[in-house]
């Protein structure tokens, strides 16, 4: 997965500020992340989006839907955290923002792929490990198979899902292909 750093030059008045913040926040670093195998452009819809330069993060709120290919990530709130290459305030608005580090989804989190549907209270996508970790009364539905637990780890590149923690319950339909679980 190609990664590159994008920094925005200092801007001045009016919508120049708007332009640079939009560039530094919403159109930067996250472009090379993905929530689905195969990549492609990521569409994010929300009622509201807020970029906070000093914290190097973007917060989408209000029925947020992030879609890439055939995969979707839905939540009440999705926060994207970036690396900071320069201290806040130096180099102007939007500058000093590097690659995205995490995508954090909270509140009625739903991860949808053609193969499965996973629901939980919170999900975190880590760019370094390329995995999604979903926690909080997780329910995974794959075909007619249902898997419940406390922690679900999804490897985005391979599509492999692993349930961990708490009491893992599995309901497998004999006619399905089966699911993997690691009860503890």
């Amino acid at each position: 997965m190609a990664r590159h750093t994008h920094s925005t030059p200092r801007t001045t008045a009016l919508a120049l500020i708007v332009g640079s913040v939009l560039t530094g926040g919403l159109l930067a670093g996250t472009a090379h992340g993905q929530i689905a195998f195969g990549g492609g452009p990521i569409d994010v819809r929300a009622e509201r989006a807020q970029f906070i330069d000093r914290e190097a993060k973007v917060i989408y709120s209000g029925s947020v839907v992030a879609k890439q290919g055939l995969s979707e990530l839905r939540a009440d709130t999705i926060t994207i955290e970036f690396q900071r290459t320069e201290p806040a305030g130096e180099g102007g608005v939007g500058s000093g923002i590097g690659d995205a580090e995490k995508i954090i989804a909270t509140g009625n989190v739903l991860y949808l792929t053609p193969a499965e549907r996973a629901r939980g209270n919170r999900a975190v996508y880590d760019y370094k490990t390329d995995t999604i970790t979903m926690t909080g009364d997780v329910v995974v539905t794959r075909g007619e198979d249902v898997l419940t637990g406390q922690t679900l780890i999804i490897e985005v590149a391979t599509g492999k899902s692993t349930m961990q923690g708490g009491r893992v319950r599995t309901v497998i339909n004999p006619r399905s292909s089966g699911t993997s679980a690691a009860p503890r």
Binding site: A2, H4, P9, R10, T11, T12, A13, L14, A15, L16, I17, V18, G19, S20, V21, L22, T23, G25, L26, L27, A28, T30, A31, H32, Q34, G39, P41, I42, D43, V44, R45, A46, E47, R48, A49, Q50, F51, I52, D53, R54, Y60, V65, K67, E72, R74, G92, V93, L112, P114, A115, E116, R117, R119, V139, V140, T141, G143, E144, V146, T148
Partner: protein, 276 residues
Amino acid sequence: MASTIGASRMTTGSDRLGGTGADNIWEPRRLVTLANVRRRSERVSLLRLAFIAIAAIAIGMLMGHVVAHALRVRFAEPPEKLSGASVRMLSPRFTGRDASGTPYIITAAAAVRRPDNPDIIDLERPKIEDTLGSVVIADTGVFERDRGVLLLTGNVVVREVEGNIFVSDSTEYLVEAKRVTGQSAVRGIGPLGEVRADGYDVNEAGDVLTLTGNVWTRLYPERRASVAIGEGPAAGLDFLQLKDATQPSPPPRSAQPGPAAPPAPSEQTPVNNGGG
């Protein structure tokens, strides 16, 4: 013996009175008498006095005219204010520094100062440039100096040096508050992706940007080359003709800008048959 060849002999009046013709060969043509001299002197004196008088009169007339004019102006009634008149400047140029201290230049096709409120200046086809190469243009602008507010309306376009373009219908910049707001839809496109929203607000000196209403963002996995207007997602932005303020205005858009809206996410996935 006195030589007389070539000699001239002046004659006097006495010679004339008593002289012979032969003695008057060298006699001057004018007979100078004391009376004549006196009369001549009198005439010269009169002429001298006359010339001086004429000169004095001429100078007096000139000075008098100047003084009289000055007096008329000083004691004249103040001119009546022209009602309905406004000051119009062609190709004005304003320079300044924004809240961060970076210089910028504002030009326009024309600037008109309102007669009822000189602190309000209407701008025609304003253009704002900074030292980094970014450009902001609009159809019209209104600058309220007392409030420190600059309002841009009509095809407000921001083009950054990196190739990002943002379009909206109106933008309000509050200089003192270091705040930028837009109550109309904004659309942005660039090498990294696109963004669209119904409104936006930049606050805290640009530290916080808030997009509100139908926020849509498309992010590309790989940075693309600079976006060509009229191609792909930039289709529909052909009206973006960034020209100098002295050039004619770009043609109006035939429809609201915006890419084809992506399909709304479905409530049910194709393979979901239930939940936990």
